[in-house]
C-alpha cells in the first residue's frame, strides 16, 4: 500500500533511498516534524491517535486523487501514531513525476488533504505537565478537550 499508518519511528533517509522511478526527473518530499513551540507554548512531546482503518482508506483515496489530478508517476505517504518526541517525523510524503511542477503540486495536495481529512488526532504535552488535544474545537470556542 502506498499509504500507511505506523506506530514505529519514520526514518525518511531509508524511505528516500527506496523511492523513485526510472522515468522520473523530479521528486518532491515533505516531512512534518514535531517542533518545539506551538502557538507560543513549549511542546515536549506529542501523541497521535488514529482511527486506523478509516485513515488508511481515506489516505489511499487522497493518493488516488493526486494521481488523477497531477501528472505523477508515484506517490507515497506514511503517518505516525503514538507518542513522538521533539524532532520526530510525524508524516512523510513522497512524489515522483517526469517534471517538477507536478511533483510539487501533488506533494502539497497530499499533505494538505491528509491534515484536513484523516481521522488522526494530536495531543500536545507541554513543559509543566499540561496537555491538550489540538483541533478546530480549540480555535472556535471553549477548549473541548483541554486537561490541565
Amino acid at each position: 500500500m502506498a499509504f500507511r499508518m505506523t506506530g514505529s519511528p519514520i526514518a525518511p533517509a531509508a524511505l528516500v533511498e527506496g523511492f523513485g522511478d526510472p522515468r522520473c526527473g523530479g521528486l518532491a518530499f515533505f516531512e512534518g516534524r514535531v517542533r518545539d513551540l506551538n502557538e507560543g507554548r513549549a511542546v515536549q512531546a506529542l501523541e497521535y491517535e488514529a482511527y486506523v482503518p478509516l485513515a488508511e482508506k481515506e489516505g489511499e483515496r487522497i493518493l488516488a486523487e493526486a494521481r488523477g489530478r497531477f501528472e505523477i508517476l508515484r506517490a507515497e505517504c506514511v503517518h505516525r501514531t503514538g507518542r513522538l518526541g521533539l524532532g520526530d517525523v510525524a508524516v512523510w510524503v513522497a512524489v515522483a513525476a517526469v517534471h517538477r511542477g507536478a511533483a510539487f503540486d501533488a506533494c502539497r495536495y497530499i499533505i494538505d488533504e491528509t491534515k484536513a481529512r484523516l481521522p488522526i488526532w494530536k495531543k500536545e504535552h507541554y513543559a509543566g505537565g499540561a496537555s491538550e488535544w489540538i483541533s478546530c474545537a480549540e480555535r472556535d470556542g471553549p477548549a473541548a478537550g483541554t486537561t490541565r
Binding site: 491534515k115 488526532w121 488535544w133
Partner: protein, 81 residues
Amino acid sequence: MKKSLHVRYFAVLREQRGLGEERVSTGAATAAELYEELRARHGFTLRADRLRVAVNDEFEPWGAAIRDGDSVVFIPPVAGG
C-alpha cells in the same frame, strides 16, 4: 426492537467516555439519534455539528440508518495543521 452496536471512541470522546470502545444497545434509527443518546448519557461536550460519523469504517451522513451489528465511530475535529 433494540439493536446491538459496536461503538469506538477517539481522542476527546475517548477521554470523556473513559474507554475506547463498548457495545451499545439502542433504539436509535440514525447515527444522529445515536449520538444524541450517547451525548446525554455520557456528557460529551462536542455538538454533533463539530463531528463526523463513520459506519462500518466509511464516512456516512448523520441521517444514515444504523443496523444491528454496525460498527459506529464519531469523529472529533482533526488537528488540520
